[in-house]
């Protein structure tokens, strides 16, 4: 599709991915490749299946009663929909950040960050502290919380909570970070901070972000996919999607004539 893309290593690729809620066909055969260390936006009108699509990438979609998915998603070359793959084990390799900041209410800031590691059997306090500091620094939260690591995670402001959730996702050092409208519940200042953080994270991780905010996608994403009613209309460099789309539907959407 694009020269730059073929040069880079592909972290995550989907091939003919479908998803259903009971009888409702929400995602209809999407095939995309995500190159390493890029930000990839998924945009589309609400109800187009973009969140469902994202949730198929770490197989959390199938946890909803009545939901199922089929197709192929390869993470670093391995198909995560292969029969031998344990979805729980898989999710430990993929970070996810949700629409609403959702730190665990019964855990402190510190516990929230290291919970992923604890689950994998790490229990040495000094190591956990080191990782917590590292991740909180990466999530640009360390300076604000370093003196109150033992306060509940829910005591922070919305934007801080979202960065805490990002730190929590980073702690297991996943190759891919999925973000489901991570700024839609935040005010503009907190959103800007998260966006800034995402461009930082790009240096180490591959980020896939669902957003309903086209300006945001244009600002931060290297590649953008446009979905309508579960179908992939167009995928390409953001610069191309937003300035020179190939499809009429994409042009209508990005210029605000549709959706």
């Amino acid at each position: 599709m694009n020269e730059k893309q073929t040069e880079q290593k592909v972290t995550l690729a989907t091939k003919d991915l479908h998803a259903w809620f009971d009888d409702f066909h929400a995602v209809k055969g999407i095939s995309v490749e995500y190159p390493e260390k890029t930000i990839n936006a998924v945009i589309g009108p609400s109800g187009c299946g973009k969140s469902t699509y994202l949730r198929c990438l770490n197989r959390i979609h199938e946890e909803v009663p009545g939901a199922k998915a089929s197709g192929e998603v390869s993470l670093l070359g391995q198909n995560i929909y292969a029969p031998h793959v344990d979805p729980v084990e898989l999710r430990r390799n993929i970070g996810m950040v949700f629409q609403k900041p959702n730190p665990f209410p019964n855990m402190t800031i510190f516990e929230n960050v290291v919970i992923g590691l604890k689950l994998q059997g790490y229990s040495k306090k000094s190591y956990l502290l080191e990782v917590a500091e590292h991740c909180l620094k990466k999530a640009a939260l360390w300076e604000e919380v370093k003196d109150k690591l033992n306060r509940p995670g829910t005591s922070l402001s919305g934007g801080q909570q979202q960065r805490l959730c990002i730190a929590r996702a980073l702690a297991v050092n996943p190759p891919v970070l999925l973000m489901d409208e991570p700024t839609s519940a935040l005010d503009p200042i907190a959103s800007a901070k998260i966006e800034e953080l995402m461009t930082e994270l790009k240096k180490e991780f591959t980020v896939i972000v669902v957003t309903h905010n086209m300006q945001q996608a244009a600002r931060i994403a290297d590649y953008t996919s446009f979905l309508v009613l579960g179908e992939l209309i167009e995928h390409g460099l953001s610069s191309q999607i937003f300035t020179n789309p190939k499809e009429q539907k994409t042009e209508d959407y990005v210029t605000g004539r549709f959706g």
Partner: protein, 322 residues
């Protein structure tokens, strides 16, 4: 830490004896088996109750609920008087309690400032927390004399032309039991009604007020009328509670298995006769008859609760679709 160190491990971890998938299905299986144990418990309860009352069913058949002759010594058992007593006391209790509870719920939800409403609500729920034996004790020593000295004479003088208000009152009797029951079910109906009223959207109240309605008219149009089926459901649940109430009734009703028109006279209910006689019953037939009384009570409360469930379910569904 950098991305080159990303390692993938997708299939089962050797550290664990079971894969996560099996851990999850195992835990779900465990929860489900606990659920079935509880379901089994209710089933066994019904089966055992039926089995124990079987010889009484065989002996008396339908006559058990159509005759009122109850004599443990002669082993002749008819339960009609108890069914009558249960229904009458519960019915009077609902007549007294439902209007009062609706008014209290309206008062708490619609009129009171928030903190007074909360305090009142708490106090009303305190009534529900009082053990029924305490109601019985209070009914026996405090309420019964008051009924005998004041309430019964007043009713006799005012409405004495009706047969239900004739005859002497000894304090203990159907009326006293009904009053105690009414007091006991007020909290149930009140808190359910409050929930029903809370669900009414405030814009409906405002719409009524904007039309120039007084607060009374507003409550009538915008709160009471749309909640009617919910209020009925609440009252039926209260009725269910009254039907099965045992101790308080057993202590103040007088325990005489007779059908008398006057509500001042002593009576007996299904629950009170079991409480009084079960521990002392010696013959198999007596035990079976009492179990059958229990079964009848079970069926009645089952039907009433089932109706209440249906009404409330219907109500919430209607609310949800609105």
């Amino acid at each position: 830490m950098n991305s080159s160190s990303h390692k993938l491990q997708l299939s089962g971890d050797k550290k664990y004896l079971l894969s996560f998938k099996s851990q999850d299905s195992l835990s779900k299986l465990l929860l489900r088996s606990v659920a079935w144990t509880v379901i089994g418990l209710l089933t066994i309860m019904i089966i055992l109750l039926t089995r124990e009352s079987f010889i009484a069913i065989e002996e008396f058949g339908l006559e058990f609920i159509t005759t009122s002759y109850w004599n443990p010594v002669l082993e002749e058992f008819g339960g009609l008087a108890f069914i009558y007593g249960t229904l009458v006391t519960s019915f009077i209790a609902i007549l007294l309690a439902a209007p009062l509870s609706i008014l209290v719920a309206l008062f708490i939800q619609e009129v009171c400032p928030d903190w007074i409403g909360k305090t009142l609500g708490l106090l009303v729920e305190m009534i529900a927390a009082i053990p029924s034996i305490v109601f019985g004790l209070w009914g026996l020593f405090f309420l019964a004399p008051i009924v005998r000295e004041y309430i019964a004479p007043f009713l006799r003088q005012t409405f004495g032309f009706l047969p239900i208000f004739q005859g002497p009152s000894f304090g203990i009797g159907v009326l006293t039991a009904s009053i105690i029951l009414a007091i006991m079910i007020v909290p149930t109906i009140t808190s359910l009604c409050r929930e029903v009223f809370k669900v009414v959207p405030s814009h409906q109240r405002e719409a009524a007020l904007a039309l120039g309605a007084t607060r009374f008219e507003m409550m009538k149009i915008a709160v009471f009328s749309p909640s009617l089926s919910g209020i009925i459901g609440a009252s039926v649940l209260g009725l269910g509670r009254a039907l099965g109430e045992t101790m308080a009734v057993a202590m103040v009703i007088g325990n005489s298995p007779a059908i008398v028109a006057s509500i001042f006279a002593p009576g007996a209910t299904l629950a009170s006769v079991i409480a009084n006689e079960y521990a002392e019953s010696t013959s198999d037939m007596h035990v079976a008859a009492l179990c059958l009384i229990g079964l009848v009570l079970f069926v009645i409360t089952f039907i009433v609760n089932f109706i209440a469930r249906g009404v409330i379910w219907h109500y919430t569904r209607k609310q949800g679709n609105r």
